[in-house]
Amino acid sequence: MFFTAILRTLIGEDITVELKNDLSIRGRLEAVDQYLNVRLAQVQVHTAAAPPVLQLLHGSCTVRGSCIRYIHLPVEKVDTELLQEATRRVAAATKETQTMK
């Protein structure tokens, strides 16, 4: 759930989702779930040779997490030091629970 929490801090921001088939979709992040499925508002297809049918999308769309390669994040909205600290904490906690098992 760690990365779900990270991405949730960006709800409301404009992001670009790049799919594994090279399609790029830009939109405002509305929701993220535990599988890192992502819901975007005001979607725009950002790839030149994308299938034209995608232009029919109007408003929001839901993208399946397993089809995503990258999510391009707004650098000014992310505190990378905080990310590192959080990662260390989560890694320590995970190690803790594993040692206890």
Binding site: H72, T87, K95
Partner: protein
């Protein structure tokens, strides 16, 4: 950057990544892609958050007449990306100053 493998220090491969936080890493991805960037977050699935990255994509073309394979590299800069773990083959910390892989 130094570490000891074994009890008390590094027990699992993923723990190597903890040492690599805020350091430059090399990432090999499916689809003949490679990234070099600064690692800011990771999890057990190898989902990553990387900044100041350069992505290299290897593209090969076969010349129809000469049957020669022409390899082209496409590069682009990525300021801050989340990388989905299921596309990651490997992550390797780059040694400081030398740019060599561990």
């Amino acid at each position: 950057m130094s570490f000891t493998v074994g009890k008390g220090q590094l027990e699992e491969p993923v723990e190597l990544l903890r040492i690599a936080l805020d350091e430059r890493v090399f990432v090999k991805l499916k689809g003949d892609r490679e990234l070099v960037g600064t690692l800011h977050a990771y999890d057990q699935h190898l989902n990553l958050i990387i900044s100041d990255a350069e992505e290299t994509l290897q593209k090969a073309e076969l010349d129809e007449e000469t049957y020669e394979q022409i390899v082209r590299q496409e590069r682009r800069k990525l300021q801050l990306v989340y990388v989905r773990g299921d596309t990651v083959f490997l992550v390797s910390p780059l040694l400081r100053h030398t740019g060599t892989f561990l």
